[in-house]
Symmetry: C3
Subunit: 267 residues, 3 copies
C-alpha cells in the first residue's frame, strides 16, 4: 500500500501521473490519497498531517510526501527513504518528516541516490513523477530500502522546529493553533499529556482555555455540551485540544487561524 | 466494495485516514469516493446524493455516509447499519437514509453498538475513523450485519421530511430545486411519474415549466434543442426535471438555487 | 487499468457513479483519476492534459475522457474508441484527442454505436454513466475494440486546431501559454525541438524569453537558479518551456494566463 500526500491539488494531472508511474512499476500497488490539498510549499502543514495520518494505515505501507519550496526541486536537496515503526516514508529532506521522527525511532535512513530506480531522463521540475513515484513503486514491490542509496544518520537530516507548548511564568500552558480544518475547528498543539504535566492529572472541568479575547471553561466531551453558536474546547481526534463552535465555524467566528496563541490554565 | 460519501472535503486528511482504517481491517476492500464535497452538515444534500448513487454500484456494496450536524458526533445519536435491496448502508441515524428507504425496503436495520468492532479508544469527534470505518471494513469482510448490534424497526429510525411535489389548486405541479451541480444545472424533485400522475401520459411538448420569472415551453430531448444561451428543461440523468442553460450556467443565469420553486403545468 | 479525465468536478457524484458502473461491468478494473478538475467544457484544456498524462500509464490502459460542450450530450456527436500506441482512448468525437493523435498513430478508430454495451435506458444528459463507463468496463475486460461499432478513418474524426509556435519575420519563436498550474507556472507550447529547429542546437544560456513586458535571460536548470521572487524559464516536466517565479506564483506576478503570447529569441 502506498499513500500520497502532496501540494499538487487535483485540478492538475500531477497526482494522477504519479499514480500511473507507480502502477507501471508495481501494477498491484494500492494507492491511497491522504490529501493533495496541502497549501503550496507548506512543509509544516504537511509535517503535521503525515504524522496524523500514517498511523492509521497498515504496517508495511509506503508513505510518499511531496511538498517542497521552489528551490527544492532541481536543487541539491536530497530525497530520503526512512524505515520506522514498520512503515516506510519517502520525502524530500526538508524537515517534513520532523514530527514523524519525534514519535518514531528510525531503523534506517537512506539518501535516495541510486538512479537505477529513477525514470529517466529526470526532469528539472517534477521529481514526484521521475524519482518519488518509481522509487515508491519499487519499495512497495519489496526492493530493500538500502538498495536506493547510502545510509545516513538522523542528525544528517534536515529538521524543522515545530512550535511546542510551554509553561509561562504565570503558570499558563501556552500553545498555538497548528491547523484549521474544513469545519473551522482550530486544532492546537496542546495534548492531554502536556496538560497533565502542567497541572497534574487533567480535570476536564477544571481548565480554562483562552484564544484571543475568548474564554472557554472546561473541556467538553461532545459538541452538544455547548449551547448552539457557542465556543467549546474538546480533545480532538488527533489527541490535541481543538476549539470548535457548536453549529458553526470557530475560525471564522473567532477570527483566529494557524499560528494563533492558545492558553490553557486552571479555572 | 465500499463507497464513501462525506462532508469532509479533501484538503483535510479525514477521508484518507478512514481509508487507512478500512484497509487495515480488510486489505482487499475496494474503496470508491462518491464525493467528500457535501456542504458541511448538509444532511438533506447527502440524502439525495446517496439515493442517486448507490444503485450504480454492484450489489453487495457497503455505502458509508458520514454527514452530521455538530451535536451528532459524540452525542447519543445512534449509528445504523441497514441491509436493503442487496446493498449495505452505514450512516448516522439522522435521517440521511430517508430517501433511500423510500425506494428500498429494508431487510435488516441494526443499531451499531457492538464495540468489539470499534477502534478504541473512540475519540470524541471522529466517529468516521473510529466506528464507521472499522465497522465498514468488517461488514465488507463478511461479518454478519446482526453482529454489530440489536435490530430496530424502520419507525425507530429518524426520518427527515424531504420536500415532495404537490398539485396546486390551480392544477400546477409544484416542486423545487433540490440540487445544483457544477455546471449550474438545477435539478428538481419532479419526475416523469409525477408528471404522468398529474397530467395523464406525459407529452414532452405539451408542458410548460416555470422557475422564477422564466417560462420554458416543453421538455427537450437534448441540450442543443435550445438556442445558445437559452433555458431548457430536460429529464436529467437521475430521472428528474432539470433546468439547464445551453452553453451556460442556469443557476447563475436565473439567480435560482436549491429550494427555488419550480412549477409544471400544461402549455 | 482505466483512467478518467472529466470536467465533472468532485462535489457532484458523477465521477463516483461512473466508477460504480465500470466496476459493475468489470469488478477487477483499477480506476485512476487523472483529474476531474477540467474547467467545464474546456475541450482544449482536456486535449493538452490527456496527451500529457496517458504516456505515464501502463500499456493496455483505457483512457476515458468526458469533456463536452452542452450540445454534445444528447446530440448526434459520436463517441469514439481509439487504439493507438498500445493504449485505448474513449472520448467524444469533438477534437479532444487531437493532440494525442498528432503524437500517436491510431491502429483502429471505432465509432461507438453498439448499444449492446450501453446501460439502458440511455439518459438524455449523462452519457458518461450510460455509454462511456460501461464501454470502458467492457474494453478493460478484453472485449475487442471493433465490437463497439464500425471503423472510421482519422480524417472522419473531428480535429481541433491547437495553437502551434511559429517563427516570426523578425526571427522570434512565437508561442503561447497553454496551461497554468496550481503553482502559477505558465506552461507554453514551445518545446526544445522547436527551439532547436529555430535557433540551431539549443543553448540554455543563449536564449531570451519574453512574456508581456517581462524579459528572462536564459533557461534555468533549477528554480533556485533565479533569485527569490524572480522570474525564470525552465524546461518543465512535459518538455515545454515553463515560466515560473521562484518562491511565488508567476501567473499572478505577471498577470499572464492561458493564451498569453511568449516569444523566444537569441539573446
Amino acid at each position: 500500500m502506498i499513500t500520497l500526500l502532496t501540494d499538487f491539488g487535483i485540478s492538475d494531472p500531477y497526482a494522477g501521473i504519479m499514480k500511473g508511474v507507480i502502477l507501471s512499476v508495481n501494477p498491484s500497488a494500492q494507492i491511497i490519497d491522504v490529501t493533495h490539498g496541502i497549501e503550496p510549499q507548506d512543509i509544516m502543514g504537511a509535517a503535521y498531517l503525515i504524522n496524523a495520518a500514517y498511523r492509521y494505515f497498515p504496517k508495511g505501507s509506503t508513505h510518499v510526501v511531496v511538498v517542497e519550496v521552489d528551490p527544492g526541486v532541481g536543487s541539491d536537496r536530497s530525497i530520503i527513504a526512512v524505515s520506522a515503526g514498520g512503515h516506510f516514508f519517502l520525502a524530500p529532506d526538508n524537515g517534513v518528516l520532523s514530527l514523524v521522527l519525534e514519535n518514531l525511532c528510525a531503523d534506517t535512513i537512506i539518501k535516495v541516490e541510486n538512479e537505477t530506480y529513477f525514470s529517466k531522463p529526470v526532469s528539472r521540475t517534477f521529481h514526484g513523477r521521475d524519482i518519488f513515484a518509481p522509487v515508491a513503486g519499487h519499495l512497495s514491490k519489496g526492493v530493500g530500502i538500502d538498495s536506493f542509496g547510502p545510509a545516513i544518520t538522523r542528525d544528517q537530516m534536515v529538521t524543522i522546529a515545530l512550535p511546542k507548548p510551554y509553561l509561562s511564568e504565570s503558570g499558563e500552558l501556552v500553545g498555538q493553533v497548528i491547523s484549521v480544518d474544513r469545519f473551522g475547528n482550530l486544532i492546537t498543539n496542546i495534548d492531554l499529556q502536556k496538560i497533565n504535566e502542567a497541572f497534574g492529572f487533567n480535570n476536564d472541568q477544571g481548565l480554562k482555555i483562552l484564544i484571543g479575547s475568548h474564554k472557554i471553561a472546561g473541556l467538553s466531551l461532545a459538541y452538544h455540551d455547548a449551547a448552539p453558536r457557542s465556543l467549546l474546547a474538546i480533545i480532538g481526534s488527533m489527541g490535541f485540544v481543538e476549539i470548535s463552535l457548536n453549529f458553526g465555524n470557530a475560525s471564522v467566528y473567532c477570527g483566529e487561524t494557524r499560528g494563533s496563541i492558545v492558553k490553557v490554565s486552571v479555572l
